[in-house]
């Protein structure tokens, strides 16, 4: 909660306190939620949020006649000092900002396609929050310190799979029960049924 306040405070200052945001991003727990990440990431990378976050179609992306739209205009004049050339030219060519790239003649397409098809694990179920669900992959991390019960439970689950003697014991027990069932109980049952 304190961290949320710190982040919102760093965001509300003008100009935005990028150093503080960077510090919080690499501190324990990271940027907490996806809503905050949406706000902070463009700041960290110095990408103008109000221009690029428009829905396609409302901005200049579908314009065929090459008119410069008002948002671009205001961007070009408002923050002229801080723009870098690549982004500048990119916004000038805003017609093709979300262009479809020709896939057939692209040398990288096959490799990209293979990698993307193999990346099923990066698309978690439910809400788009991959942090909590990656606990089995990175069991060293305890990510959520706002709720103390969760990491303990996660560590318990992970420990269950690390300490094998539990499982060897359970394995023996299971087979003992199965043995009893097979040679003592099921013959009796079938005899009764007959």
């Amino acid at each position: 909660m304190k961290k949320m306040n710190d982040i919102s405070q760093a965001l509300s200052v003008s100009p935005v306190d990028v150093a503080a945001l960077r510090r919080m991003a690499i501190s324990e727990g990271g940027l907490l939620t996806d809503e905050i990440r949406c706000q902070v990431w463009p700041r960290l990378l110095n990408v103008p949020l109000h221009i690029l976050d428009q829905e396609p179609g409302t901005g200049g992306s579908r314009n065929r006649h090459g008119d410069i739209h008002r948002p671009q205009h205001s961007y070009l004049f408002a923050s002229g000092k801080h723009t870098d050339v690549a982004l500048h030219t990119m916004l000038m060519q805003n017609l093709s900002f979300l262009e479809k790239v020709d896939r057939e003649n692209n040398k990288d397409y096959n490799q990209v396609l293979l990698d993307v098809q193999r990346s099923l694990r990066r698309f978690p179920p439910g809400e788009l929050i991959p942090v909590q669900s990656s606990v089995f992959v990175k069991s060293d991390y305890s990510l959520d310190h706002t709720c103390p019960t969760k990491p303990a439970f996660q560590e318990f689950i992970v420990g269950l799979f690390k300490n094998t003697w539990h499982y060897n014991f359970l394995y023996l027990l299971l087979h003992f029960v199965l043995f009893i069932h097979r040679y003592c109980i099921s013959p009796t049952i079938s005899r009764h049924v007959k």
Partner: protein
């Protein structure tokens, strides 16, 4: 041995119960589009395995449009050239 089997089963279960197929395929299409677009606009960049893992991190949090901008900035300014 058995514990590894259980861990593997749970990992594959996690892979199995991902997001709905249509949503995932839509995002994968967007992912391919973003990567190819960034590569096309910056001919000095080259694709390498694992780059899609970087891009999907952005795509899962922000929409395609902002993700493209962030990834392009990151690739041209922060990641090492390859």
């Amino acid at each position: 041995m058995l514990s590894e089997l259980f861990a593997f089963a749970i990992l594959s279960w996690r892979t199995y119960i991902g997001m709905p197929d249509e949503q995932r395929e839509g995002l994968q299409e967007e992912l391919i589009d973003i990567i190819l677009r960034v590569l096309k606009r910056n001919p000095q960049l080259h694709y390498y395995q694992g780059y899609h893992d970087i891009v999907v991190t952005f795509l899962l949090v922000v929409k395609e449009r902002l993700a493209t901008a962030l990834v392009e900035k990151l690739s041209t300014h922060h990641l090492r050239y390859f």
